[in-house]
Structure formats: structure tokens, C-alpha cells
Symmetry: C2
Subunit: 469 residues, 2 copies
């Protein structure tokens, strides 16, 4: 019996005494979603598609939800938090009731949640989409004023935006996506910006070294001071942050510190309800996105992920992954329809005009995982002839497994088409394409929109790889 | 025994008397390619990859070869033919000898060709990449001055460019890619431009009606006079073209006429050599790109094509298809390595800032071919949030077969990422992906580079299609 049928039955029991029913019945939803960002919204949209008549409720604690990936762009390109809001129309259009409140606990036996406003909401199926929170490292001075993390909270982000007006020198701790994108945006405001990164390179967890170096070069060209192989040991200042002391002994003067060193999944609710937690600290889920309680699903940053390639736990957390999981969770709520195959991981970023994208495993990650590899590379311009306006250099690297000849990953740097070109690689990875299938890829080309078909770089990189076989 | 081994043996026979050998030996190449545009070049590059030591010769009649797809852009964006030349370095870098001459005949028994300069060149394997020529319709007035077709000949194109300086009103006959792109470029020069198209819509052979209408709207907005459902009956003028008379009775004043009504494969050489010709008038080839003579291959516009979907002859002719065929032909010259699966057909075009791409079958073509279909659509902006600079509306239409639930085609209109996004569809078509595999596509997204993951339009269109199942 589906969710819809069940709920109809429940209502029928009470039909005889509608008045008393209204009095005694607690709020109840066929599908109850906790969390209103990418995963929560898409679970709702997907559930609506499969369960036309179900009552779907989404509880979130924020009055407004910001577009999470675009948070850096509030501080330069967009200029205000207002321009980075996900419109709630997407919920109402899908018949999803919105409750602004915070879920405090789950009663798995009674199938209810309790909220901070004292409400109890019943559910048939519960979906946890509680997201992740920025890691706040325990370094001295972390509590000083003008030390910010990237909270997905509009009031907090407004405070950060306001503070920026009085700031000249910023230290960004962490050279991942967030750090690099914030640095670029801060430069657009004319600030002095340093990035402090513990690893030898910025973006090293998601790109191979040659791509990281390309990004760092572009950062330097626009005036960002990139300090890699360096640790922020202490933030010093009298009330407000005034400098960051590094492991190298250097001291970076600043008026503001921004931390972007990663996130940790929000699992308190799940833990307290006794749900199983995974090795990477996310809420454990099966391939159908069910938690250890078959009536409770999880999706997005709060959920544990498994690698498409190794079937081992994966630490990747991206909005695109969140929506993919949400599409699977949302379809499975009362009947198992979709099984996930593990996280491929596809991302892109941009430093001013240099875009970079990656799909699947980098060479380093694949090697570390024990794969025997062969690699192909190609460089060309992304329009043809090269004199077409806006032409940018495009670099493609493809990573294949020797044993199977299948693609494990790829990285692209280039212009405005980089992210969608990377998605072509994602499609190949999903299809477990062999190198030869990429050599004979039937792509389309156009002078103003792509590289020449003669040297189309994804195909050329596959051809190059074949010479290494 | 491979080509390389064979040629070594041949040379060894003569080693004892090198002097006399030089005298009597005609020019001889292991691999001889006739034609120097996209297909010819890529056959050479591919052959070099597989046959490291082979002698490869390319004979072409043009001193310089232009980038074929970018010819319209010579007349506005690029401004000169110089900027639209394929550098011959791509041949020398691959150790391909270039001979500028015209092949006049093939002697299949002797395995030689004769050229217009009186040379005889021997071959082990011959590749015909002779391209296609613009169709010149037998309408009255076609021989008047200032009536041009799109010849891939730099001198001819220079003459066209020069004539444009004295021109104010142009009539473009044919509303396909060539006609639409030329019209856009002519408008950039400030000319008055009309397009005359026989069918109800421009681009109708490659896009469904709603996309054609979108393109026509953009053409009208930039001031192009679009005359569809109309035939050019006669070009009138005293020496020079002065007007075009239409089947509707209207008369379009002009100083120049440009014809872009299609191409016909160049098969004279093949026909005279007794090679089999296909139903669509191209040189017949097997799935390995061999003609009816196993020592002669054909690739590109001159070669017959078979549909990926129906396995019937296909009339598609695109540079991207040419290079794909060339990669297959080039790999198979002395050993069959790659088998082609039929032409998918992937293309893109742009009218000012509106890009459109298509992959595989349109709804109309698929219906006409007898497929039972279900369709999905999605519209969103191609960045997120929508306030990101340069955001454009993106429309995706996906076409699936009911019986198999597999994708047959897709069309996209949007901004600068349209062509690469269309290539994602091409990858799905090649992988024969089912609708559900596209719903669970793991794409990557970025605010400045793609649509939001919540509404990523390829995924959303697949979701929409599932509701029609």
C-alpha cells in the first residue's frame, strides 16, 4: 500500500466526527522533509512527481534559503544576499507545505518529530536533509570579531557583507572551492587578499597538480597572495582580528579572516534518534537512500556517500550530489524505484575567467586507490578558428583504468563552456565508456561555441590516451 | 602484414640499385588521401597514430584550406579569409606530405592516381575525402553577377567579401545553417537582409518547430526579413542581380544573392573509378569506411552515411561527422580496428546571442520514421541564481522511444554553453541511455557556469518525460 492510500485510510477513520478530529489530530504529513536547501527542495519536488496526492511538508529553520554554491558571489558579483535567495515558489508550485521551525527530535516509534516551537508533526516517511556546517577549527583567536565562516544563514551573511565595508586586508584560510571563489570576489571589491592553504596546492583534493597550478597562477595574476604548504596557527588581535600567524613564522596583517576549510554533516538529530552513522560521519544510507530506519531517508550533505568507483565511503559533499541523492530518495519513499550507483563527483569552479571542471577520480586519487592508469591530454582553443571572439585555451585530461580501458575521471580548464564540457565526461563515466568509445564520440561543433572537430579536445585526449595503452 | 611492413619490403627490393630506383620509381605513398579539409586532415592524423612509419601523402587542389564551418563568420565577425585558414602545420607536425594538385582519375588495378599536373602517385591504401559542393539550382538568373554560393575556395570567398563593400540589400536563398548564419553576419555589416525559405520554417530539417520559431524570432529582432513558405523563382537583373522574384508574387530588391540550399557529395572521381554510389548519392562505404574496393576508403561529405537509429541511408553532412568518419577510416587502413555504429548527427548554430543545438532525431523526424515517442521539456536559466552575469534562458527538449525508454534525440536553446550541453545529449544517445539514467545523471554545476542543480534542465526534461510514460 502506497503512502497516498495509507493517508486516505487514516482520514476515513475520522470522517464521522470531523470536528473532534480537528481538535485532537496533531499535524501530520505523508512525507515530512527536514531541511530546505537543495536536497530538501528536490526531495519534495520528486516526491510530488511520484505521489500526486500525498501531503508533503518541509520544515526548515531559515526564513529564507540562499543558493548555497553562489554564496561567494554575494560579496562581489551579486552585491547582496537578496539576489541569492531560492524562491519559495518552487515549494508552493509543487504543493509542498512550508513550515519555518526547527526539528528538535524524532520519535521513531510514534513516527513524529518535535519542533522548537512545541509542535509535534507526524509522518509516514521522514527525510533528513539537514545539510552540513562549516568546520570551525580550535585555533587561538577563532572567537575574535571579524572572523567568519561560511554559514548558510542570510543574517550571518549580511553581517559579513556589512563588515566588508570597513575592511582592507582579508586572510582566507583554506584554498578549496570556497576559499578560492571568495578570494576572487574579494579582489573584485579591491581588497588585499591572501589564501592560506595547508596542502602544497589550492584545490588539491579535487584537481591534479597541473590544474591546481593553473588556478594558482590565475589567482596570482589577479593579485591574490597564495600561501600554500602553510598552516594558520593563530589569529591575533584586540577584540577584532588583526593578523594571522602562520606555521612558516610569517604574520599576515588583516581586518578580517574568512574560514573555508570544509564542512561536517549535521547529524545530531539522526544520532539522537539512534540512526546509524557512517565512516565519513554522515547518516548511513543504503543504495535507496534509506537510513537504518526504513521509514527515514537521508539526502544531501548530511548523508553518507559511497564512491561509484571503489564502493568505499566518500567524503565528497556538493549541491549537485545532494540533488541527485534527493531525486533517488524522493522516488523511493513508498516503493523502491531507483538504486544509486555511488557518487561519481562532478564539480567546477572559476577564477575570474579561468574555469576548471573535474569529474570522477583525479589521477592522484585513482593511483592512491590502487588503479593502474593510462592518461590522455589535449590542449586547444574552445572556438574555431582561434580568432573567434572570446576564444579561450582549453585543456583536457582524461584518466583511464588499464585493465578495463574505462574512463575513471577527467579534468578540464577553459572558458565559459568548461562546466558543461565536464558534464560530457560525467556522462561517459556514468556509461562506463571505454577509451575507444570516446575516440569515436559523435560530438557537435560550431565555430562560435566549441573547439574545431579536427582537434575536439575530449576526443583528442582519448586518442592521446590510446597511444599510452 | 601491415602497410608499413609492405612498404619496407617494396623498398628493400630496390635497395641494390638506388640510383636507377630513383629514376624509374613513380611517387608512391603507403597512404594517399585525396582532399584537404576536415576529413582528409583527420584521416592523416589518425593514420599517423596507428602507422608510425607509414608514408602518408595528402593531395588537395587548394593552396590554402579554410575552416569550413566558419565561412559565414568571414563576412562579419572575422572580417577576412586570412583569419579562417586551417594551418598546414597540422599536416607537417603529423609527418603528412602535402601535394597541391588535383587528382583526375584512379587506376584501381595499378593502385595509382593521375593528377592534373601529370603526376602519377601510387598507393597501398587510398582515402577519398573529396567533400561536397554547393547545389546550384537551375533558376533563371542564377548566372548573373553578384549571385554567390558558398564555395570552400579562398579566392572565391575573397571575391564575395570584396563585392559586399558595394552592397546594401542581400537576399539569402535557403534558411538552413548557412543561410541563417550568413544573414546574421550580413546584419552585423549593416546590410538589409532577407532569407527566402521553401519550408514553413528556417532550420526545419534539424530542429523541431518550437526551436525554429525561436530562431526566426531572434532573426526578426535583429532585423532580418524572414520569408518562409516561399520559393525563389527567378533572379532578375541586367548583368548584376537586382531582385529576386518569389513564388508568392513578391519581389525582393537586392544587390547580391547568396545561395545556401544544400550540398551534393563530390563523387565524380569515385564514379569514374567504378566505385559503388549510395542511395543518398554519397560514395558507398561499409561500417569500416571501406568503399566497394577494399583498398579505397571514403570519409566526410563525399561518403554515404547510415543512420544510427534506423540503419537507413542518412543525408546528414557535417564537419563533425566528417572527422568522426575520418577517425574510423584512419584507424582501419591496414587492419580493421573500429566499426562505426551509424550517424547520430549533432549540430549547433547561433543567431547573435541565441545558440541552438540538436543531437539525434527531432520529434518530427522520429515520428516520421515510425517511432512511438514520449517527450520531456524544461526551461530555466543557464546560471544560478538568475542574477549572475550573462545568464540566458535555456530550453531543453528530450525525445525518447516508448518501447525501449531510450533517448533518440534532444534539442537545446540557450547561451554560450548550448553546444557542449548538446554534446552531453550526444553522449547519452551514444550510450543508448534510458530516461531513468538521465533523471539520475550526476552532473556538476556552478553558479557562473551552469543552471542550478535543483532545476538542471537536462535532468528536469527527463523527469518531465517520465510523467508522460
Amino acid at each position: 500500500m502506497g503512502i497516498v492510500d495509507k493517508s486516505k485510510k487514516l482520514i476515513n477513520l475520522f470522517d464521522k466526527d470531523l470536528a473532534s478530529r480537528r481538535k485532537i489530530e496533531m499535524k501530520k504529513s505523508d512525507i515530512l522533509i527536514v531541511g530546505g536547501s537543495a536536497a530538501g527542495i528536490v526531495v519534495g519536488m520528486t516526491a510530488r512527481q511520484y505521489y500526486k496526492d500525498a501531503k508533503i511538508t518541509l520544515v526548515r529553520k531559515e526564513e529564507q534559503v540562499c543558493v548555497p554554491c553562489a554564496i561567494p558571489y554575494i560579496f562581489g558579483t551579486l552585491g547582496s544576499t537578496d539576489k541569492d535567495v531560492i524562491p519559495d515558489a518552487i515549494l508552493s508550485k509543487n504543493g509542498i507545505e512550508l513550515v519555518v521551525d526547527e526539528v528538535q527530535s524524532i520519535d521513531r516509534d510514534k513516527k513524529t518529530v518535535a519542533t522548537s516551537r512545541g509542535e509535534t508533526i507526524g509522518f509516514d516517511k521522514l527525510v533528513l536533509a539537514t545539510g552540513a556546517s562549516p568546520i570551525v577549527p580550535p585555533i587561538p583567536g577563532i572567537d575574535l570579531d571579524n572572523v567568519f565562516v561560511v554559514n548558510k544563514d542570510i543574517d550571518y551573511l549580511n553581517a559579513l557583507l556589512k563588515s566588508l565595508n570597513k575592511v582592507k586586508d582579508v586572510v582566507v584560510i583554506g584554498g578549496g572551492f570556497i576559499g578560492v571563489e571568495f578570494a576572487d570576489e574579494f579582489k573584485k571589491r579591491g581588497l588585499n587578499v591572501s589564501i592560506v592553504e595547508l596542502l602544497p596546492h589550492c584545490l588539491q583534493l579535487v584537481f591534479d597538480e597541473e590544474f591546481c597550478i593553473r588556478a594558482e597562477k590565475r589567482l596570482s595574476e589577479i593579485g591574490v597572495n597564495v600561501m600554500t604548504n602553510n598552516r594558520a596557527d593563530r589569529i591575533v588581535g584586540d577584540k577584532k582580528a588583526e593578523a594571522v600567524e602562520l606555521s612558516s613564522g610569517e604574520k599576515l596583517k588583516c581586518d578580517m579572516v574568512l574560514l573555508g576549510i570544509g564542512v561536517t554533516p549535521n547529524t545530531k538529530l539522526a544520532k539522537e534518534a539512534g540512526l546509524k552513522i557512517g565512516e565519513k560521519r554522515g547518516i548511513w544510507v543504503d543504495p535507496y537512500m534509506r537510513t537504518s530506519d526504513e521509514n527515514i531517508f537521508a539526502a544531501g550533505d548530511c548523508a553518507e556517500k559511497t564512491s561509484f568507483f571503489t564502493k568505499k565511503p566518500s567524503g565528497l559533499r556538493l549541491a549537485s550530489i545532494a540533488t541527485w541523492e534527493a531525486r533517488i530518495a524522493g522516488a523511493n519513499l513508498s516503493q523502491l524505484r531507483k538504486k544509486q550507483e555511488g557518487v561519481i563527483g562532478v564539480w567546477s569552479t572559476i577564477v575570474r575567467d579561468l574555469a576548471m571542471g573535474g569529474a570522477g577520480m583525479t589521477e592522484k586519487i585513482a593511483k592512491d586507490a590502487g588503479f593502474d592508469l593510462f592518461i590522455g591530454r589535449a590542449t586547444t582553443v574552445d572556438k574555431h578558428p582561434g580568432g573567434m571572439p572570446g576564444a579561450a585555451e582549453m585543456n583536457v585530461k582524461l584518466i583511464f583504468e588499464k585493465k578495463t580501458e574505462r574512463i575513471l575521471g577527467g579534468e578540464i580548464s577553459g572558458g565559459s563552456t568548461t562546466a558543461e564540457a565536464t558534464n560530457i565526461l560525467a556522462a561517459f563515466i556514468k556509461a562506463r565508456s571505454k577509451v575507444d568509445e570516446i575516440v569515436t564520440f559523435q560530438m557537435g561543433t560550431h565555430p562560435a561555441l566549441t573547439a574545431s572537430p579536427i582537434v575536439y579536445p575530449i576526443v583528442r585526449a582519448a586518442e592521446d590516451a590510446m597511444t599510452k595503452l
